[in-house]
Subunit: 338 residues, 2 copies
DNA sequence: CTGTTAGCGCATTCAT
DNA sequence: ATGAATGCGCTAACAG
């Protein structure tokens, strides 16, 4: 292993000088700087990050805790975070909680032990629980992402879905839909009850009462399939289904297929979140989406500022989602029960 | 920050003793061991990984370089790797090359600079290029994964697709398919030409010559759509399409839709790789898949052994893929050109 | 069995 | 502008 010391000898300078050029310290004679540069190149010297971390008391690593790597939106977010972090000289540990609160907690603990300089969490647990995890070892700078609204305890990047949801509700109502099912996540990730309430509110303002049997939460694929089936059967079946978590669209499609129904003739479908699949199947799905890259950049800006110790002028970063019309929403006419 | 020294004082033992209990050294009096344990708990001591790394000259981190996080198979692999690695006391840096050779190279370089103890690479670059990257800084233990066949330069985990491909070919031929299009990745990841040749071989043994216009490679969504369109048009259009990369199934579906064709009446489809979507759309897709978790475990076993310095008795780990029949393959009768 | 000691590679302070 | 010296937190070798 070639160390800073080897470089120093090769360049006929002291160890301190090498360190200085490495860290861009101005007070170094150009001649020396150049000699060091040459020595580094010739020896193929690479700084030892463990030694740097130990000395600087900084790991130059960040932690990103996301709810589910199988969600394409999450992947987009992850990539954007890595890009921004990389440009700022950080590497990032990605931890996938798989929608499991306990796993999320243990991931946060592990990242804290690894002494990450900052944490980005898209929480599955209640905020208070996240707070407890993060505080366990003296509160590292932390930003919560993918929330639906800002919270008091942390700086956050949140997505305001109200405009998109209102537009979507308007669209459905104008096409005659009266019985709209809302299938939402049982976990906090993906909006959960908050998102359901937002949708219900938008619908209610347009005279659609609902909820009750039509609203169902679920935690995994099988439950989601059952929930969709339930909404699709019975005397007063739904004419439209809003799926609150993109990865659970497939079981909903399966339920519709198994119920011998067709999109959008018999039932309309809107997904929260998007993917190539949603855009490519027949018919392509209407979706409510947010620009995850912009979201990630906003969050990273907050985090980097927090790490640098600057007080945050704006504690929260707001994005807005949009409603994209494709081919999965049609008139409610197909339903004979109306 | 509470250090080993604080623990030592609190437990009235020396620094060395604390270190010993921490590392499970046997020669420690039970009384001392217990006192140290108590002190650790009371102080909430957590070892500093940077200091450990520096001293041990081991980072206890692994690097996993994968071609595309948007592929569900890759995510499954990633999760399995993290599980096994975690149990062995390693954390893993996941780097997504996004099917880009240059990005893969720079990721490998970054991981090497981070001084990972081992590397798992699902290569997009030619093997020789990977070899060059990895050798740049004195060859860290490296295992190549998701290959189609073992290579000389590295220990590998590979997937033998021959049995599944032969079964699939048999299925298609028995249903009267004569014009089969093979859409494969232009990059090495996902099989590329190797997979195409395997398929062509299987088909040829059953008397189906082909290739030529019917075989097309692509690097991104738009190209794949065009390739599918081309196969679907013309006087002698394909009656079956094999899609070599799962994430590129959506554009193929779009092309089929845009060509006003139906699956499986007009055209049969088989995908390499699987997902909830493939299983849930109408009709559900036939697929060729491999158990990624088992694959990952095999690869990790090789890597951990290599890291420990043991000579590898078996340098390669073999998995076998299977052909899953669902609803996307039917008789070739729908094609009037036959 | 346990205390003491010597670095691991580097950034930084203090002289010069 | 630069060399020398110090110590970050920890492990391992050595001497008791």
């Amino acid at each position: 292993m070639v160390t800073i010391r080897d470089v120093a000898e090769r360049a006929n300078v002291s160890l301190g000088t090498v360190s200085r050029v490495l860290n861009g310290h101005p007070a170094v004679r150009p001649v020396a700087r150049e000699a060091v540069g040459r020595a580094i190149a010739e020896l193929g010297y690479v700084p030892n990050p463990a030694a740097q971390s130990l000395r600087r008391m900084k790991s130059h690593a960040l932690g990103l805790v996301i709810p589910d790597l199988l969600s394409p939106m999450t992947v987009t977010l992850t990539r954007a975070v890595e890009d921004v972090a990389g440009r700022a000289g950080y590497t990032v540990f990605v931890a996938d909680s798989r929608l499991d609160e306990g796993l999320e907690a243990s991931h946060i603990a592990r990242l804290l032990e690894r002494r990450v300089d900052g944490l980005l969490v898209s929480p599955v647990q209640p905020i208070a629980a996240v707070e407890r995890c993060v505080s366990k070892m003296g509160r590292v700078p932390t930003v919560l992402v993918q929330l639906r609204k800002p919270v008091r305890e942390f700086p956050t990047a949140f997505v305001d879905e109200q405009p998109a949801v209102y537009e979507c509700a308007e669209h459905l109502v104008s096409l005659g839909h009266r019985r709209v099912a809302v299938l939402h996540s049982g976990s906090r990730a993906g909006g959960g009850r908050f998102r359901r309430d937002l949708i219900r509110g938008a619908l209610a303002e347009r005279g659609i009462t609902g909820g009750g049997d039509l609203d169902r939460s679920f935690a995994e694929t099988g439950e989601c399939y059952a929930a969709a089936m339930a909404a699709l059967n019975g005397p007063e079946r739904a004419t439209a289904i809003l799926v609150g978590v993109h990865k659970f669209v497939p079981p909903v499609l399966r339920a519709i297929r198994d119920a011998n129904l067709r999109i959008p003739d018999d039932v309309s479908v809107v997904s929260f979140g998007d993917s190539d699949w949603a855009e490519s199947i027949s018919p392509p799905l209407n979706v409510v989406v947010v620009d995850q890259a912009a979201h990630a950049e906003g969050a990273m800006a907050l985090l980097l500022k927090a790490i640098s110790g600057e007080p945050l002028r704006e504690r929260h970063f707001r994005s807005e989602s949009i409603y994209v019309r494709r081919g999965s929403v049609g008139p409610a006419g197909g339903c004979v029960n109306d």
